[in-house]
Symmetry: C2
Subunit: 457 residues, 2 copies
């Protein structure tokens, strides 16, 4: 065992006590909300068979999967010929397992494997880390948590309304008020393509439209032209692309007419209308909702509603998103499982709450009172008092060593402990303690019982 | 994407809603206890550099590490020569990272990397999965959780007493009453070797002694004889090996005399005495404590107290254990970091609580009331009521689809939902709901407000 300066692999992070308290505040808020809405927790293992993972995330995704070397004699199956023909031939012989890349594919696998036990509609949530061999950069890590909730086995649009309700509840608990939930429906995008006479070029249209925010209307039109959209099609698309000025009502009015000849587009509009009705039944105000007919994420996957949530004024991308799909498990041989789901991005939410100063003081999970002492007898008394504090549910610790009082206070200070209970000769003689508020500097001598009720209050 | 019947890698597990509720009950109890005692949470990444992990767990441990294939062109560095010389030469060229094998080595790495920010004594807890390429068998998995608490940077025996206090609190919360905390001290084991004139053969003595429970006194003596222990040494050891009859007081009396000439052994006894004193100051009864001078786990590591916890009547090995060490971080170039720590085995605790029927009913994290409906108008009303239930903090859901009432009840039944609120024509007309207790079958018609207060109660 040689001595070495240890380090972390790139893109990996430790979370110390302060970060953990903040992250736990985020996790607890999200978990409580999922539960309040009747979602049940699921956990799947970190490792899946590569056969489960590959081919599910596109070619780029396959590259970003972390593969786990077979244990034992991992070279046994690797022939000379395979070695000479390179990675593609060697990989299946070396590695049979990979690390979870997202929570959706493991969920789909779970549904297929447990289809006979699950009572549909199945409302599940999952909060676990995922791993991607992405190039690390600011805000992008190789290990990060996803928090997903999905309901499968129902087409009811109540689910869409409830997802919006969950996002609102979580953000309210965070104290986040300035955000927009962008809402679209894949059928509206399809309808737009239909109306513009570009029904076969829906993907190209959506890829270009998705960049509207970043590159602007003019360059989107350029791109569409290069993709072979006719002048007539581009003209037909103009009123859609010049979208930024419209409010929700305006959009609805405009689209009712624009999509009048598209049965699919009209169905998309009807679905949005139904979601809005359920939101009203739920008593949710909809001022935070932004109808966004050019929102085009997850196109290879989503077939109905599409969501995305953006927080104003922080320059951080979307912090939550999702949509409705109609074929979760077809790739595993179980067709017809439709559902709707969404995800919170914990790392981005952390950055948002940090930037806006929204981590509450109450997030402190740490010690509420530390017992300091001037000697062995006082420490003995401190240990006796300690048990009483904890019995009352007050997070408490005693400075374990016989040390100078200054050192004990430095420890309490560094650990952000709000109260120190001091035991000296006088306190020992009078069966009291001196309780110091570390924030105000105020100190008072109290009986144990008084101190406990002070700290409970 | 070919259709395939998905499966899990061997030794890996999914946890569905019922198991998750039970596991969360265990995690929450342990986490709350760690926090009450002033321990702060830490999380480290799943992947560590292999240089951090290898050489820390012995040769067998190195074999059991899961290695992660380098991303991208992983064969690039593998020369023909390396390939021909086999796994040992190829491994460092293929894989630079491995999966966390335990929580101790990542903790040591963290302490070294953050030594300038940490205020010692550092009380940290960590609850995360670890991975080992062990042969899977009943009760042994390739992914499992560890729950560790350690305090480093202090020699105070208050920490040992507090560990015992934490174990007691966790077990009390579980409703576990019939268990023993076995307590020993490495210095007592050393003292025994010294007294028997086998000071150089301490390891052999301890390895043999550790089997006393399994193979009995006679075969332990045989093994010691084979290891070259003289008849005199064996005779000197006899009163120790015939240990099963002694209570704590008897052991203490016996060892005071037996170890009288061993300074180290006597120090071990003094330490145990001091731990007992602190336990008494903490008000802990010590009837569950079993002084066990032949408890010999973690010998290459522990230098002071050694703990192990066994539950009676379940035939499951130790569910918790730990000890004091004096060199956590030496291998990373930071000497002199001493501490004491212990760990709960979540999977074994799960099996114990399951075997003893101790998972409480209150563990149910799921929906408390489901709203069922006889048609679209009734469902609309149900959605309105839903919001009110949730606002009162009652976990609630509505059956999302328009479906036969029987189907809705089957869903509630399968999901173990204790109450169903039924909305039909009559309820709609009278602004009420019929609340059915699914356990007793009782049903009553109530206003929304009454139903809420019924479910809150």
């Amino acid at each position: 065992m040689s001595k070495q300066k240890p380090s972390l692999p790139k893109g990996m992070r430790d979370f110390g006590p302060v970060e953990m308290a903040r992250r736990n505040f985020i996790f607890t808020t999200i978990r409580d909300t999922f539960r309040l809405f009747g979602y049940e927790q699921l956990e799947t293992p970190a490792m899946e068979n590569l056969s489960t993972l590959t081919g599910k995330y596109g070619e780029e995704g396959d590259q970003l999967l972390f593969k786990v070397l077979n244990s034992g004699e991992f070279l046994k199956k690797v022939t000379d010929t395979a070695f000479k023909s390179g990675e593609g031939s060697v990989l299946p012989l070396l590695a049979e397992k990979g690390l979870r890349y997202d929570l959706t594919v493991p969920f789909a696998r779970y549904v297929v494997m447990h289809q006979n036990e699950i009572s549909f509609p199945f409302k599940r949530f999952q909060m676990q880390p995922v791993w991607r061999a992405d190039r690390p950069q600011k805000g992008r890590y190789r290990e990060f948590y996803q928090c997903d909730a999905d309901v499968v086995g129902t087409d009811s649009l109540i689910c869409e309304a409830e997802i919006i309700g969950m996002i609102k509840r979580v953000f309210a608990a965070f104290g986040l008020t300035d955000y927009r939930i962008h809402l679209n429906n894949r059928k509206i995008l399809s309808g737009i393509a239909e109306v513009a006479g570009a029904a076969g070029k829906e993907t190209e249209l959506c890829v270009a439209i998705d960049k509207l925010d970043k590159i602007g209307q003019e360059r989107v039109v350029d791109e569409l032209r290069q993709q072979g959209f006719s002048p007539a099609a581009l003209a037909a698309l103009t009123p859609v692309l010049a979208h930024s000025e419209r409010g929700n009502e305006e959009w609805l009015d405009f689209l009712r007419e624009y999509l009048g000849n598209s049965a699919l587009g009209t169905r998309g509009l009807d679905e949005i209308g139904e979601v809005l009705d359920f939101l009203s039944d739920l008593g949710e105000d909809t001022s935070f909702l932004k109808l966004d007919p050019v929102l085009a994420r997850g196109l290879s996957y989503y077939t109905g509603a599409i969501f995305e949530v953006k927080v104003a004024g922080v320059g951080i991308g979307s912090v939550s998103g999702g949509g409705r799909y109609d074929n979760l498990t077809g790739v595993f041989g179980l067709p017809g499982i439709s559902g709707v789901g969404f995800s919170f991005g914990v790392d981005r939410l952390y950055d948002v709450l940090d930037a806006l100063g929204l981590f509450p003081e109450v997030q402190n999970e740490g010690t509420r009172v530390m017992l300091a002492h001037f000697g062995a007898e006082e420490r003995k008394q401190a240990v006796r008092y300690l048990a009483a504090f904890r019995k009352a549910g007050i997070t408490a610790e005693v400075y374990p060593d016989l040390a100078k009082i200054k050192k004990q206070f430095t420890y309490a200070d560094k650990k952000n402990i709000p109260y120190v209970a001091i035991l000296g000769t006088e306190e020992l003689a009078s069966d009291t303690l001196s309780l110091k508020n570390m924030g105000t500097g105020q100190q008072e001598t109290l009986s144990l019982e008084k101190a406990i009720s002070r700290l409970e209050g």
